[in-house]
Amino acid sequence: MKKKGRGLATIMFGFGYGEGFPDHSIASIEIKADQRIVIKTAAADVGQGVITTVIQIAAEILRIKPDYFEVIQGDTHTTKNSGSTSATRQTYFTGNAVKKAAEDLLANLYHYGSMEFRSNHPEISIKDGEIYLYEEPEYSISYWDLAAKLKDKGITLEAEGSFFPVTYQPDEKGQADKVYVAYTFLSQVIEVEVDTDTGIIDLLNVYTAVDLGKAINPKNVEGQIEGGTVQGLGMAVMEEQVIRNGRTLNAGMSDYLVPTSVDIPKFKHYLIEDQDSEGPFGAKGVGEPTIIAAAPALANAVYDAIGIRFYDLPLNPSKVKKALEEQDNKN
């Protein structure tokens, strides 16, 4: 027999290393005469999209299409420390570092632009890679021409930005004024169907609402929600590296199972954007929070479906069936 159920979980996640750890990110941006804007960051893009995120941030500040940007990434000898791609920190930390670098660069565009036009800052304007006189827009110079002119004078049109917020190490009772830079909140409702003959749990629908400050790239946020949730559901129903007496019994993908395309549920998302965080454009981190609610929401849904509470993960078919048999024998 198949029994349906749904479960809710609400979670929070304090992101950044926190706890007083020196957590920072450094990035630089250079406008080159050959129509390239080069961002240098050591922030590792593991697929989540930090490269794209920092381009969007820099493009926004520098008022020019993303198409001109290149990101040079990941070389200990040409990029400075951007911290790790972990702790849900790159959008917040490297995003802010890039934003600061871009702001510095923008200010310098005004500065050198005003020298070019022999005018003061309020009289010039910047748009689509052009610096021009506000009243007489026919007087303009492109970023590239400006970079070329400055290069002749030995000046590089570049800027560095860093972001280094303070947190405090908790005392012996775990107390401190600020332990994490900020918190992301997320609620998820998961609908399942439990096959009482086989103990197999079908994943039907996942509804997610996430409080993330601002989505720099909504599609990429959706990708995080879907990917994180499927990992969380894997943890909930099938994943387990079985280590007995120090030896792994399932070291390989034939017996360490993760969900496939036919196992996954359908998704609906809602992004709550209050832009009230200290992250770039009010963004908070979203990578890790997306995995956290899935297992409890699923366990709560299974309880709703069959009235059995599970305390051990994963809820694999053997475990579920055993509990169903015990329930049967009691009744």
Partner: protein
């Protein structure tokens, strides 16, 4: 020694990415738009270069001989038969590199190679590394390395590890780290509770299972005295520092270049291929490559911590949380890795996003002879949430209250205080997430 010159440029400039705004609607604003991923085109055409895609002529293949027992003293290691395999260029053990220092993300407790008379603590520990002209020769040689050991008790779970008569896995004992959390008066909180629920939860070892296994390529630039390494990592400069200190080199002598990363989820925070590559590149003077098989990756590299969580919670009959006591015991396996940070981060989040005045918690990260546990997405809070959100539903059930309503009664608002005493002064929309998810899912309440 090869006289060929290798250049970092061979595989450097390729990792530049461009971004397209072709599909965006409002060309003035770029934040908040679905800009196409800058690196996607390289990835859909097969042009993106991952560590294992990097090849040099004259390259040697490495293979690691790993521990033969999860907990044993290395008494003897004989590589003489292995060295006779045709195509084997070099085999090195700890005895060949006397000054090696241990490595590790937070605490440096992990040997690059287990030395004679020292202990192998899990099956991923490296005993020797073979460099050969072909991967087959390297495999064959690894099979011919003979090892003598003295077996020790294998500690399989943290509860055994904490018993007084359990053998110590590391010199300072088996409890790696303990943290406490206390605010308010938890006993007073329970005294004023109408319902008290106590439950024990257990989570499991999980592999992050990024699709790309650990892999790397390296060569030694003798002129600059520098090792160049291509290998995926989540934190370049930290790995650089750890590799350098373990080899007693200046940080500048280790250059790590990030190829495209085939997923990580926490697994690529730790050192994997890096130090062995550096040593082999320096010893042989030739480019070297080391790629883990899926099995090797699962046995050798970090896991999500299994955590035993005991939650005792008190709630008033009208549905307000009064007290929350919690205990986290995490199996951190053979080495510390991120363990010193993971388990208590879980505990710091033990109450979820709910107002509780009286909280008391303790967490232990405990060594065992299992594959070491480290970072994985959620970092202890994923395990914690399974416990607190199960607990919330159990309490709602006891109260005969809709689980969503019960959560909303207790949810953080602007100005709420976390168990750490951190006041939340901005961006707190936790309640809104519940309301929106109810709307989205058609949750009507009841129960």
């Amino acid at each position: 020694m090869s006289d060929k010159q290798y250049s970092v440029k061979d595989y450097y400039c390729k990792h530049t990415t461009r971004c397209s705004s072709e599909t965006i609607k409002d060309s003035k604003r770029f934040v908040g738009q679905d800009i196409l991923k800058a690196d996607a085109e390289d990835k859909v055409t097969g042009k993106a270069v991952y560590a294992n895609d990097i090849t040099f002529d004259d390259m040697l293949y490495l293979k690691v001989k790993r521990a033969v027992h999860p907990h044993a003293i290395l008494k003897d290691i004989d590589t003489s038969k292995a060295k006779k395999v045709k195509g084997v260029v070099d085999i090195f053990t700890a005895e060949d590199i006397p000054d090696l220092r241990k490595f590790g993300l937070i605490i440096r407790d992990q040997p690059v190679l287990v030395a004679l008379g020292k202990t192998m603590r899990y099956l991923g520990d490296a005993l020797a590394v073979v460099a050969a002209e072909s991967i087959e020769a390297a495999k064959k040689a690894v099979d011919l390395i003979e090892v003598k050991i003295e077996e020790l008790e294998v500690i399989t779970d943290p509860f055994r590890a904490m018993e007084a008569d359990a053998v110590n896995i590391h010199p300072d004992g088996n409890i790696l780290i303990t943290h406490n959390l206390e605010t308010g008066d938890v006993e007073a909180g329970f005294a004023e509770s109408d319902i008290i629920v106590e439950r024990k939860y257990q989570t499991q070892f999980i592999d992050q299972l990024p699709m790309q296994n650990e892999a790397g390529t390296a060569f030694y630039d003798e002129r600059k005295g520098r090792v160049n390494i291509w290998a995926a990592t989540q934190w370049l400069h930290d790995i650089q520092a750890d590799v350098a200190q373990s080899l007693r080199l200046a940080k500048d002598q280790i250059r790590i270049i990030q190829p495209t990363i085939g997923g990580a989820f926490g697994k690529k925070e730790d050192v994997s291929v890096h130090i062995h590559l550096a040593i082999a590149a320096m010893r042989t003077g030739r480019p070297v490559k080391l790629t883990f098989s899926r099995e090797e990756s699962m046995i050798t590299q970090s896991k999500r911590h299994p955590i035993t969580i005991i939650n005792k919670t008190g709630v008033s009959s009208d549905g307000y949380l009064k007290a929350w006591q919690t205990k986290f015991i995490g199996d951190t396996g053979a080495y510390a890795s991120s363990g010193p940070a993971v388990v208590h981060k879980g505990m710091y989040h033990a109450t979820g996003p709910y107002n509780v005045e009286n909280i008391k918690g303790i967490s232990h990260a405990v060594y065992t002879n299992n594959t070491y546990a480290g970072a994985m997405r959620g970092f202890g809070t994923t395990q914690g949430a399974f416990a607190y959100e199960s607990q919330m539903d159990i309490m709602a059930h006891e109260l005969k209250m809709d689980p969503a309503e019960f959560r909303q009664k207790n949810i953080y608002q602007l100005g709420s205080c976390t168990p750490n005493g951190q006041r939340l002064n901005h961006s707190v929309n936790a309640e809104e997430t519940i309301k929106k998810v109810m709307e989205l899912s058609g949750w009507k309440g009841g129960k």
